[in-house]
């Protein structure tokens, strides 16, 4: 009996120790950290907005809050970073990265259409893949957050993607004409 109590106590103490050590991250926090990281692996064309580096968010207040929380710890290419919530097309002026949260495409179609026509890194969180116009799309892989990249969409936005980002991607959608383009990037 005494042994059992001892074992139980040991298990409980062990559990407590693990609990205290475990840093628990939400998917929102990890996505926010990714959004800051992406900036270092993308080259914007020369006509992209100057001034502060702006990350815009629509349709995902959770990620927006995590971006806010991380903001004091982050800089991009030595520039200050602004986090902006977007509801109207006019809010997209001066934006470098535009993240559109999950949810039906109908709600964000017009915002996506505006983003696609500009040198903006459109990042999506669409369930049915990278067809929604995103250059980067988050995907769930078990308990991990991963992402896929469309080089076609990157070309359209005139963004250059560093090969290091491609190598971490779960999947890369190649340009239709040349399947060995990835090699030339390296």
């Amino acid at each position: 009996m005494k042994v059992r109590v001892g074992v139980l106590l040991a298990i409980l103490l062990g559990l407590c120790a693990t609990l205290v050590q475990a840093a628990v991250f939400s998917a929102d926090a990890v996505k926010a950290a990714f959004l800051y990281r992406f900036a270092s692996y993308v080259e914007w064309p020369s006509d992209a907005p100057s001034g502060p580096f702006v990350i815009a968010v629509a349709g995902d207040e959770g990620v927006a809050q995590q971006l806010d929380a991380l903001q004091p710890r982050m800089s991009v290419h030595g520039r200050p970073v602004q986090v902006r919530r977007v509801t109207r097309a006019s809010d997209l002026v001066g934006v470098h990265i535009f993240y559109v949260g999950p949810g039906p495409m109908t709600r964000t179609r017009s915002l996506r259409a505006v983003a696609i026509s500009r040198p903006i890194l459109l990042v999506t969180d669409d369930q049915d893949g990278i067809r929604g116009g995103g250059v980067i799309n988050f995907v769930e892989a078990g308990r991990n957050v991963r992402f896929e990249i469309s080089l076609l969409a990157a070309d359209r936005a005139r963004l250059k993607i560093d090969s290091a980002l491609l190598s971490v991607a779960a999947h890369v959608e190649m340009r239709p004409q040349a399947s060995n383009d990835r090699g030339s990037l390296q």
Binding site: F25, V30, L70, R73, T87, T106, R109, S110, R143, A164
Partner: protein, 619 residues
């Protein structure tokens, strides 16, 4: 101040791409309590919390809010309150100091003051969130938002495309829900639904059926036109329900309820405008001994939000509501007049001023006029200090009222059908509260957040019962009780591991009421409400791959008069997700006892343990 290396945010900010792709993230429900939310005691019940708790009704979902007190009276009826005044049914005092709205439509019954919870239903899967605010909210929501406001907000139809089928069967409940949603045109969507249930009876103390089985069929739709980014957005929605309730020896009760609501929202650079119109009709038939009624409500509401310079954020609006009713009088309970059109008119403005980056002041004022007692002035003043993005300290002072109803003014009651022993009082005034609160919310660590609010409320003109001078009967209602209450509410969320979340909650209430000079003191101060001092809850949510296990333990203290003993009960749910589309679950409520009582009056019943199994299929 800048965090050390063990701070999770700093850890996260230093991770490489490869490390980020390997971080294990939690799948247990995230909390919707943003620290940026209003400086008030607000608890948000998320759609995921509703889904994972397995609750099938709105009142059962409200048990998830740690700042409410819920009493189930029988199979059909509930009393729900915040900060006391949960009603005293034996003296016809209902929980009438809390307002409840479904998508901006008030479901507070203007005839008897209170909420008929058997008539409030939505597809539980279509709820986006339920905002539960304890404390006054009269400046924004008007009279009866005295001790609390419950906002049930359903999802935009653009978020509910596809088909949902849900079937539940158990010893108490058989229920079916079907919903279909689709898109049309550029940015438009619509959903339609139908649901029905048959709910078994509560019990008598000896375990016999109390004979209050009931069933409902309900159908409805919601359509949203225009997506985010469109300057104009429209919403149209409506519901129809038909209910039959057994009422034991009294025979059957039936009612039909129908509502339709339209909303237009316009947003431009600095101004957003909202215009909303709804119509609601209830026809309630009662057996010969009861009072039936037809109630038509029409409400028009206009609201505008303006950013004025960098510092001011102004909201203003006006509204008008008509409640047109026709009561079926009986010889023992009747109203003079038995039909009438009550009008409610309001105008308000509220300005939020950013005094500095960390300090905000909100000042608001509403003027509201009701047909019985004229104009009320409903002011509200709040300060909020947010030293960083993880901490909010706030304080407020506000006035709110409970408006008179036909039950207070026009009622006549008679035991023999000849002599009236109770009658309404044409001079009946609003019941009033001046409420003072302080609150603190913080997220000291990414895995822990907590909230606490303490309040001191001063009440005046609370309803009493007074004798006729000389003859004693007929009795009439008066406004001769006053006093104060104080208490606190606190809750926390602890993400213990990536698969386990624990959420404790507690509320404490002390009531100190007395009769005003000249009062008859009939029936004692306990007629204002029969409320427990304490209520505590502990919620646990666990995920194991495709399995999820959720439980909620609740303790409710003793109700003092009439006395109902304290009780502890457990609800639990085990679910298995076969695929993204298909889920099986077993749900239990009130598991710790065969039956228990939540309210002690002769008409209240014992609530039994119940278990049901469910399949939920989306495609």
């Amino acid at each position: 101040m800048m965090a050390n290396a063990t701070d999770p945010l700093t850890q996260l900010s230093r991770m490489s791409l490869e490390e980020l792709s390997k971080v294990e993230v939690t799948s247990v429900s995230k909390s919707a309590q943003g620290l940026n939310a209003a400086p008030a005691s607000i608890y948000v019940i998320t759609s995921e919390e509703i889904h994972r708790s397995g609750v099938l009704t709105i009142p059962e979902a409200l048990r998830l809010a740690p700042n409410l007190q819920i009493e189930q009276i029988n199979s059909q009826e509930y009393q729900i309150s915040a900060r006391g005044f949960g009603g005293h049914l034996e003296v016809q005092n209902f929980s009438n100091k809390i307002l409840i709205l479904i998508d901006g439509r008030s479901v507070y019954n203007p005839l008897f003051s209170g909420v008929a919870y058997d008539a409030q239903d939505v597809v539980m899967d279509d709820i986006d969130r339920i905002e539960v605010i304890s404390g006054p909210g009269a400046t924004l929501w008007g009279s009866n938002a005295m001790n609390g406001v419950i906002n049930i907000i359903t999802k935009n139809s653009q978020d509910t495309t596809g088909t949902l089928l849900r079937a539940s069967a158990g010893d108490q409940e058989t229920a079916l829900t079907a919903r279909y949603g689709g898109t049309f045109g550029e940015d438009n969507a619509i959903r339609i639904y139908a649901k029905g249930f048959d709910r078994g009876p509560s019990e008598l103390v000896n375990g016999d059926s109390a004979g209050d089985r009931w069933h409902k069929v309900q159908t409805g739709f919601r359509s949203d036109l225009g997506g985010a980014g469109d300057p104009n957005r429209f919403t149209v929605q409506g519901d129809y329900q038909n209910v039959t309730e057994n009422a034991g020896a009294f025979g059957d009760v039936g009612f039909d309820q129908f509502d339709v609501l339209g909303r237009w929202e316009h947003s431009s650079e600095r101004v957003s405008t909202r215009l909303q119109l709804y119509f609601d009709r209830t026809e309630r038939d009662q057996p010969p001994s009861g009072v039936g009624f037809t109630l038509n409500t029409c409400d028009l509401d206009f609201q505008q939000t303006l950013g004025l310079g960098a510092r001011h954020h102004l909201v203003w609006g006006l509204g008008r509501r008509y409640n047109d009713y026709d009561i079926v009088n009986t010889p023992t309970l009747f109203f003079v007049p038995d039909s009438r059109t009550l009008e409610l008119t309001n105008v308000f403005a509220q300005d939020t001023i950013s005094l500095s980056d960390h300090f905000k002041l909100t000042a608001g004022l509403k003027f509201e006029e009701n047909s019985y007692s004229g104009w009320s002035t409903l002011p509200d003043l709040r300060v909020a200090w947010s030293p960083n993005d993880r901490t909010l300290v706030w304080a407020s002072g506000a006035r709110a009222v409970r408006a008179p109803t036909p039950l207070d003014v026009d009622v006549r009651e008679s035991a023999d059908g000849v002599n009236v022993f109770l009658q309404g009082n044409p001079q009946f005034d609003t019941e009033k509260v001046d409420a003072y609160e302080i609150g603190y919310r913080a997220q000291p660590h990414t895995s822990i957040s907590w909230s606490v609010a303490a309040y001191y409320d001063e009440y005046d003109d609370l309803r009493t019962i007074e004798p006729a001078p000389g003859t004693f009967v007929p009795l009439h209602w008066g406004n001769l009780m006053e006093g104060s209450t104080y208490g606190f509410e606190l809750w926390a969320n602890w993400q213990a591991t990536s698969w386990w979340r624990l959420s404790p909650g507690y509320r404490y209430l002390h009531e100190n009421l007395e009769f005003s000079p000249g009062a008859s003191q009939l029936l004692g101060v306990e007629q204002a409400g029969n409320d427990p001092v304490s209520r505590a809850t502990l919620k646990s949510s666990m995920d194991f791959g495709r399995w999820s296990v959720d439980a909620m333990l609740r303790y409710v203290g003793k109700l003092p008069s009439p006395e109902n003993p304290s009780y502890t009960e457990l609800g639990a749910r085990v679910a298995w997700r076969a695929s993204d589309a298909f889920e099986l679950s077993v749900n239990g409520s009130n598991l710790l006892d065969d039956r228990h009582s939540e309210y002690a009056v002769p008409t209240a019943r014992e609530i039994r343990r119940s278990i049901y199994a469910e399949v939920r299929w989306t495609f």
